[in-house]
């Protein structure tokens, strides 16, 4: 790809970007959110048309007008948000859009072919399973099989590890290596430094829509890559000041919570958090962390046990009552829950606070105060946005999370429940979010932080609790944490209670 230029209203997403991919190579495409990585690959896959630039495949100039043409050229892409039809089966999804089953579906032959591919690449899957029944890792496998079934020689993976557990990530890397050994090529889009270093033969770094450099495996160095990506030095260690934990803020006693599937997702769980303390909850996604946080914030009723805030029972209180009592909540789903995309930035900035004075009095809203609040917070938290009346959907991932934090932290919360607070954020935004959480700890808030990033848990927490199968299988001070032990506990093979 030579000199690719793609403009969107107000931004140049790709500014004369060059990109070269060799056969049998795993090529990491590294950059912060909004650096233009996905845009570049969407151009390759025919989703976007570049304003300038040329694409050559095997030295032949091509014009890729649609994903179908890209597929015909042997290009496959697995998007960050999977494009699967959830009520349909794996096999139906793989065949969707193909011309080959012209009228009558020969499901058996197609199924055999899928199984053959899945065996060859050790990507086990049940072709008859329905997508909604599958974990995110399995869904990704379906997407990969879909591309392989269409004969992809060039496979583009957009942020493939963001939905995977550590063991699944390992599996993915093994598969990527196998692809390369067979002489096929893989483009691996990411902003995670460790992963790009572990998996790639070469790395191209993009920043603000421009090429920074392309490095060979032996030239890779974490600090160098990070500064190339961000454009300045990045601190990998956070300054954490000592805080003496104060009185007990949150207390859970023998709490059992029902999960969506009709089984208890949290079982007899007991924990407490004090003022000025961060409790990091480690664990593989789906072991009850979500249900635990929802029970504390009121999104989900508890089956038995008690939840206390400053000694007062709150488990039967409404969500709005808990907000008033100072529970801030940074949920996992930013787009669908924490910051509705169709509302304006100003409206989203009072989402959980519009009942309070001065934002409303009686039944009427005070638009003037809501606007002032937006101006103040946009400035204070450095949210990049075209204006307070812009819809939230125009914000990038990092800025959306800043917006959510701005709102949740501006009310002097007593307890902050943060779920995957830095998931999907780039290095700069991650650094900022973490520093905000630490500042709240110093200000005397109690924090419960769920994360799948062990580094994050280790560097931020005062105490660590590991969850497995809806239970806490171990709690210890962060200073005594042992990464191997935590890993074993997350996998369910060690218990220390």
């Amino acid at each position: 790809m030579k000199g690719i230029v793609k403009r969107f209203p107000g931004v140049v997403a790709n500014d004369h970007v060059d990109f070269e991919l060799q056969a049998g190579e795993v090529h990491g495409l590294l950059g912060e959110n909004g650096a233009g990585k996905t845009t570049l690959m969407n151009v390759l896959y025919g989703i976007l048309r570049p304003e300038e630039g040329e694409i050559y495949i095997r030295d032949e100039k091509v014009d890729i007008g649609s994903p179908r043409e890209a597929i015909n050229l042997g290009i496959g892409m697995v998007h960050q948000n999977f494009k699967l039809v959830e009520p349909h089966t794996v096999l139906e999804n793989i065949l969707l859009g193909l011309k080959e089953p012209a009228f009558i579906l020969n499901l058996k032959d197609a199924g055999d072919k899928v199984l053959e591919i899945s065996k060859r690449y050790e990507l086990p899957i049940d072709p008859g399973a329905r997508i909604w029944q599958l974990s995110m890792g399995e869904r990704q496998r379906v997407e990969i099989l879909k591309a392989l079934y269409r004969g992809a020689n060039i496979l583009v993976l957009d942020e493939p590890t963001s939905v995977l557990t550590p063991p699944e990530t390992k599996e993915l890397f093994r598969f990527i290596a196998q692809m390369a050994r067979e002489g096929r090529s893989v483009v691996f889009i990411t902003h995670k430094l460790d992963e790009v270093m572990a998996a790639s033969d070469r790395v191209t770094v993009l920043r603000a829509g421009r090429n920074v450099d392309t490095l060979h495996r032996e030239q890779l160095d974490k600090t160098k890559l990070a500064s190339m990506m961000v454009g300045r030095e990045v601190l990998f260690t956070l300054r954490k000041s000592p805080v003496v934990p104060g009185e007990r803020v949150l207390e859970l006693n023998q709490v059992t919570v029902m999960g969506d599937k009709g089984f208890p997702a949290v079982k007899n769980l007991t924990l407490d958090i004090r003022k000025g303390e961060i409790l990091g909850v480690a664990g593989i996604a789906g072991n009850g962390q979500r249900e635990l946080t929802e029970a504390i914030t009121g999104m989900r009723p508890i089956l038995s046990g008690e939840v206390r805030l400053y000694g007062k029972e709150i488990h039967s209180e409404s969500i709005s009552r808990r907000i008033e009592e100072g529970i801030a909540y940074i949920p996992e789903d930013r787009v669908g829950v924490a910051a509705p995309q169709g509302l304006t930035v100003a409206q989203d900035l009072v989402l959980r606070r519009y009942r309070e004075k001065p934002f409303s009095s009686g039944v009427f809203l005070n638009q003037h105060k809501i606007d002032n609040n937006a101006d103040t917070l946009i400035k204070e938290f450095n949210i990049m946005v075209s204006g307070k009346d812009a819809p939230a959907r125009t914000l990038s991932g990092g800025n959306l999370q800043k917006l959510i934090l701005a709102r949740e932290l501006s009310g002097k919360p007593a307890l902050i429940v943060a779920v995957y607070p830095t998931r999907g954020l780039d290095v700069g935004a991650t650094e900022y979010v973490r520093s905000l959480l630490l500042k709240q700890r110093e200000a005397g808030a109690a924090l419960l932080m769920v994360s799948e990033d062990l580094d994050e848990i280790l560097s931020l927490s005062d105490r660590i609790a590991v969850m497995y199968g809806g239970e806490i299988v171990g709690t210890f001070p962060a200073s005594e944490a042992n990464v191997e032990e935590i890993g074993l506990m997350m996998g369910g093979s060690l218990r220390k209670t």
Binding site: I323, D333, V337, G342, Q347, R352, Y354, R355, F364, L365
Partner: protein, 337 residues
Amino acid sequence: MTIAVPVVSLVLGFLSAAPLFLAVGVNPILAYRQVLGVFLNVDGLTESFTRGIPLLLASVGLCLAFKMNFWNIGAEGQLFMGAFAATGMVFLLPDSSAFVLLGSMIIAGFIFGGLFGMIPGYLKARLETNEVLTTLMLNFVAILWVDYLVYGPWRDPEGFGFPLTPMFPPNARLPWIPGTRIHAGLIVGLVCAGLVYVFLARTKWGYELKVTGESRLAAKYAGIDYLKLTLLVMFISGGLAGLAGMGLVSGIVLRLRHGISPGYGFSAIIIGWLARLNPLAVVPVSILFGGLLVAGDALQIGLGLAFATSQVFQALILLFVVGAEVLTRYKVALTWE
């Protein structure tokens, strides 16, 4: 663009109806003149306003429900319940002053329409039933309930067996503009459109409605009580449709009868969408829509067209206007392959 698209789509709609007129042996030019004439003479215009009143009231109510993604297809039924309740007040208080009687008719019409709207609201909030089905089905309940009354206990003994109640006394008739059929319901409708606009733009409920329309989970996260909000919104939405029914019996027909509404509650859905759920925009759209209904009548009376033919004509116009509305939201580019 926003002006050009509806105008062009209207013209195309007219042109597409030409074969229809030719097929039934009518000169299309005459037919067009007949239709446009509605908007060019006083009678046609005032009648457009008259027909626009129930459309306006019902549609303004629907804006509220639709804004929170509650698909109320039941305005027709809520309208019938309002008409029923208003008529009931005439039977209960036949001798009270016009002020008391009309006041109680308005209140009863609103409350019964509203309560009838709250049923599917409650069912959805509590049991997750699909409101499209429940509101749609409840239409038949309300329409048939009114049929039962006008064919049975409320039938006018001197009505030669027709399915209608006795004529209302003068104290049950809404004030009207002499020489026309425009009644005080128009003022009620305009006031309600203004109130709903303020409700949406300036109140906490309006904000809650917008959040809920965006995402129910987000609303829950914000601490919004979905049950309470749905009941409130459906009470108002149904209540406004009920007022439309009250206006029909008390301002136009002056009795309750079989088929009191020819589907105003359904047309109100289209109007709401054409007005992009903006209650102020609903006002002109309702009146234009009223004009389209009058034009249908004019074709029947003036040119002797069959009822069905005029309906096909109206449908064609709507099809083009609604279809073209999509175009105003996207940039259209013609590319050469």
